[in-house]
C-alpha cells in the first residue's frame, strides 16, 4: 500500500514537472521580409464545412508561401466569451469568424479593423448593400465581410402535403395560406405544424420583417422601442394557429428547433418552421423513405427577413490587417463560399456563390427555395441597437414565452416589450 501511494505521488510529481516544462506556443511578430503567419479561428461545425474550410486554407497556403494561414477550430458556444478576453488581452486571432449580431458590440468598442480600404472592389460589389449594412458601424466603417446567411423556411412532409392536396409551388407562401394549410393538415390527433419556439425572439423579430415590423427606432443607446400592430403581427398569427385553429402542436412551442424534428419524422405534424440549416439534420436523420421538401419563402406584405450573416473580421490591433483582408477576399470567392455554404446548408451572401450551389445541387433537397429565401434578407433595425441582446434575454424572450403559452394577452405582451426596453436601456 505504501509503495502504491509512493508510486502514485512520484508519478504525479513527474507529470507535474512535465507539465511545467511545456513552453509557450505563442509566436512573436515576424521581422520584415519574413513569412507572415495568420491565425484563423473558424467556427465551421458540420464535417463537410470543416473539410471545405480546411481546403480553402490549404489552397491559400499553397499559393501564398509568404502568407501562411493557420486553421484553429473554435466553437459557436463559447466564441463571445473567448473574444471578450482576447480583445482585452490583445491576443485575438488574426481572422475572426463570428456572426454580425455578436460583433456589433466589439465594433462599437473599436476592437475591429475597418476593412473598407483593404477588401477588393470585387468583393464589395458581390454582396448586396442590405447585407453590407449589417457589418457597418454608424460612421460607415466596414468591420467584417459577410459570408453566409440563414433564413426561416417551412419544411413539409411531402406525402402528407400530397395526401391533403396541398401544392407547395409558387414564388412565395403567404401567412394566410400557411395557416390554411396547417388547418387542413390538422386531423386525427395530428397537427399541421410544429414550431420550436423555445427561444422565440429571433424568430419573431426576423419574420416580423415580413410585415414591416421595426421594433426599434434609432440606433445605439438612443434607440426607442416601437411596438405596434406590425410588430405584434407574427406572435398574433402564431398564437391564433396554436389556440384558435389548434393547428400548431402546443408542446412544440416549448421546444428548440432541433427538438421538433422527431415529431416531424414521426408524423406528429406535417410541417415545421425552422432555420434553413435544419435541412442538414433532415438529410442526415430522416428515416428511410421519408420525403421532405422546403416550401416557398413566407410572405406577409413582403418576403423580407433580417440578415444576420456569419462574418470574417480582423482585430484593430492586428499586425497583418492587409494580409488578413487578402485571405478574406480569397475566402469570399464564389467557389469557396459555395463550398462552405453547401456544407452548412446556409445561403452565401454573393449571387455568384448562390448560383454555384444551385448548379451543384440542381436545386434539389430544398436548395431552390432556400436560395430564393436568401434574396430578401436585409438589415433589421434591432441590429443597430446596442442593448438589444439584453432586451432579448431579459424582456422579449420571457414575455413571448408567456404569450405563446397563452398566459398573457397580446396587449400585455406589447406593453411588456415596450416597457421592458426602458428597464434595460436606462
Amino acid at each position: 500500500m505504501k509503495k502504491a501511494v509512493t508510486a502514485l505521488m512520484a508519478a504525479g510529481a513527474l507529470v507535474a514537472l512535465a507539465a511545467c516544462g511545456g513552453g509557450d506556443s505563442g509566436s512573436g511578430d515576424p521581422a520584415p521580409g519574413e513569412k507572415v503567419t495568420l491565425k484563423f479561428q473558424s467556427l465551421a461545425f458540420q464535417k463537410s464545412t470543416v473539410a471545405a474550410t480546411k481546403k480553402i486554407v490549404a489552397d491559400w497556403n499553397a499559393a501564398h508561401p509568404d502568407i501562411q494561414v493557420e486553421y484553429v477550430q473554435g466553437s459557436w458556444d463559447s466564441v463571445h466569451d473567448q473574444l471578450v478576453t482576447q480583445f482585452q488581452g490583445g491576443t485575438a486571432p488574426d481572422i475572426i469568424h463570428d456572426e454580425s449580431a455578436d460583433i456589433t458590440g466589439f465594433a462599437n468598442q473599436g476592437y475591429l479593423a475597418d476593412l473598407s480600404e483593404y477588401l477588393s472592389q470585387e468583393t464589395k460589389d458581390a454582396v448586396p448593400q442590405g447585407v453590407w449594412d449589417t457589418v457597418k458601424t454608424g460612421d460607415g466603417k466596414i468591420v467584417a465581410a459577410p459570408t453566409l446567411l440563414q433564413s426561416y423556411v417551412v419544411f413539409g412532409n411531402s406525402a402528407a402535403l400530397k395526401q391533403a392536396g396541398i401544392s407547395a409551388t409558387g414564388d412565395s407562401l403567404s401567412w394566410d395560406q400557411l395557416a390554411a394549410d396547417a388547418k387542413k393538415l390538422t386531423a386525427n390527433g395530428k397537427y399541421g405544424l410544429g414550431w420550436g419556439l423555445k427561444s422565440p425572439t429571433a424568430t419573431v423579430l426576423n419574420l416580423g420583417m415580413n410585415f414591416d415590423a421595426a421594433f426599434f427606432e434609432g440606433s445605439g443607446r438612443d434607440a426607442k422601442a416601437k411596438i405596434g400592430d406590425a410588430e405584434l403581427e407574427v406572435p398574433k398569427r402564431i398564437h391564433a394557429m396554436a389556440y384558435t385553429d389548434k393547428s400548431i402542436d402546443p408542446t412544440s412551442l416549448t421546444q428548440s428547433g432541433s427538438d421538433v424534428l422527431p415529431g416531424f419524422f414521426g408524423g406528429k405534424y406535417s410541417m415545421v418552421v425552422a432555420g434553413n440549416y435544419t435541412a442538414q439534420q433532415m438529410a442526415e436523420q430522416a428515416p428511410k423513405g421519408f420525403e421532405w421538401e422546403v416550401l416557398p419563402p413566407l410572405k406577409g406584405s413582403t418576403e423580407a427577413q433580417a440578415a444576420n450573416p456569419q462574418t470574417l473580421s480582423v482585430p484593430a490591433e492586428g499586425k497583418h490587417i492587409k494580409q488578413a483582408a487578402q485571405f478574406i477576399d480569397y475566402f469570399m470567392q464564389a467557389d469557396n463560399l459555395a463550398a462552405v455554404g453547401q456544407g452548412d446548408w446556409l445561403i452565401p451572401t454573393t449571387q455568384a456563390a448562390r448560383d454555384a450551389i444551385a448548379k451543384a445541387t440542381g436545386g434539389k433537397n430544398g436548395w431552390e427555395q432556400t436560395l430564393a429565401s436568401g434574396t430578401e434578407l436585409t438589415k433589421a433595425p434591432f441590429q443597430s441597437v446596442e442593448n438589444y441582446p439584453k432586451w432579448k434575454d431579459q424582456i422579449a424572450t420571457p414575455a413571448l414565452q408567456e404569450f405563446l403559452a397563452n398566459k398573457i394577452d397580446l396587449a400585455t405582451l406589447g406593453q411588456k416589450l415596450n416597457d421592458g426596453w426602458g428597464q434595460v436601456n436606462s
Binding site: V5, K47, Q73, Q82, S256, G266
Partner: protein
C-alpha cells in the same frame, strides 16, 4: 440483533433503486453513443440502440482531437492535484495546530475567495499571466487551477488535521520525534482519507473546468477535454449528439479509473484504535 427478512428485502430494493438512479445516466450515455442519427430523431426513443453503430466513436476520435484533449486534461488535472496537495498540507497543518491572529483572517479570506464569480476575475487574471508568458501554456493553466482549488482544499484539509488527536503528536514528541518527522510518520498516514478526498475534489475541478481553459488556451494542441467536447455543439442549438455521447463516454474512462483506484483507499485506515482509551 438479527434483521427481519422483510426489512432486509426492502433494503435490497432500496439499494437497487439507488443503483438504477445512479447508473441510468451512464447507461443512457453509452446507449446514445451507439445509436445512429436516425435513432436520435425517432419519436419513440429506446433505452438500448436497435442496431449498434460505432461510427460515433470513429467520428469522435478522428474529428476533434479527442486523444490530445484527454492527454492535456490528464496532465493538467494530475499536476494541479499534486501541487495543491503539496502546498495545502503544511498550510492546513499550521492553520489547524497553531493559534495566531492570522488564523481567523485566513479562514475568512478562504471563504470570501469562493464568492467571486469566474467572469469577474478572468480578464485581470489574463492581464497578469500575459506578461509572464503564461497564457496559452499548460503551466499557466495549472497555476490558475491550483490557485482556484487551494482555498477549498485548505478548508477541507484543516478539518481533517483538526480531527487527528493531538495526543498522538505529543506521544511522538515524547519519543523524540521532530515536528517534521511527526507530520510525515504520524499525521500523514492518518490523513490519507482526507488527502484522497481533497485530491478527488481538486482533480474533478480541474478535469471539468471549461472557462479558464477556453480563455487561456488558444493553441489547438493544448486544448483540454471540455473544450474539445464543446466543439460538438454548433450554432442555433445544433448538436452532434452521437459523436458527443461517444466522446463523453471516452472522457469518463480516465476519471472512472482514477476514482476506482482511490476510492478503495478513501475509507480505509481511519483513526480506529489510534489512541487507547
Amino acid at each position: 440483533m438479527r434483521t427481519r427478512p422483510g426489512f432486509r428485502f426492502l433494503q435490497y430494493v432500496a439499494v437497487c433503486c439507488y443503483l438504477v438512479f445512479l447508473g441510468f445516466p451512464l447507461l443512457w450515455l453509452i446507449s446514445s453513443s451507439l445509436k445512429s442519427p436516425q435513432e436520435f430523431a425517432s419519436i419513440t426513443p429506446s433505452i438500448l440502440p436497435k442496431q449498434l453503430d460505432f461510427s460515433n466513436y470513429t467520428d469522435a476520435l478522428s474529428e476533434q482531437g479527442l486523444v490530445r484533449g484527454l492527454t492535456n486534461s490528464l496532465q493538467i488535472s494530475i499536476a494541479s492535484t499534486v501541487l495543491v496537495l503539496v502546498v495545502s498540507l503544511p498550510v492546513a497543518y499550521a492553520l489547524a495546530r497553531f493559534r495566531s491572529r492570522l488564523r481567523p483572517i485566513t479562514n475568512g479570506w478562504i471563504l470570501v475567495s469562493q464568492v467571486f464569480p469566474v467572469i469577474l476575475i478572468v480578464i485581470p487574471l489574463f492581464m497578469i499571466l500575459r506578461p509572464l508568458h503564461l497564457t496559452n501554456t499548460i503551466p499557466g493553466v495549472v497555476i490558475v487551477y491550483m490557485v482556484w482549488s487551494m482555498p477549498f482544499a485548505l478548508w477541507m484539509l484543516q478539518g481533517y488535521v483538526a480531527a487527528v488527536p493531538r495526543e498522538l503528536e505529543e506521544a511522538a514528541s515524547v519519543d523524540g520525534a521532530s515536528r517534521v518527522r511527526t507530520i510525515v510518520s504520524i499525521v500523514m498516514p492518518l490523513l490519507r482519507p482526507g488527502l484522497i478526498a481533497t485530491a478527488m475534489f481538486t482533480f474533478i475541478s480541474a478535469w471539468n473546468e471549461f472557462f479558464f481553459a477556453l480563455v487561456l488556451l488558444q493553441d489547438p494542441e493544448l486544448k483540454t477535454l471540455p473544450l474539445v467536447l464543446a466543439r460538438f455543439v454548433g450554432a442555433e442549438g445544433q448538436v452532434q449528439f452521437g459523436p458527443l455521447a461517444a466522446a463523453s463516454v471516452l472522457a469518463t474512462v480516465p476519471s472512472l479509473v482514477f476514482f476506482a483506484f482511490l476510492q478503495r483507499r478513501l475509507t480505509s485506515g481511519l483513526l480506529s484504535g489510534a489512541v487507547k482509551g
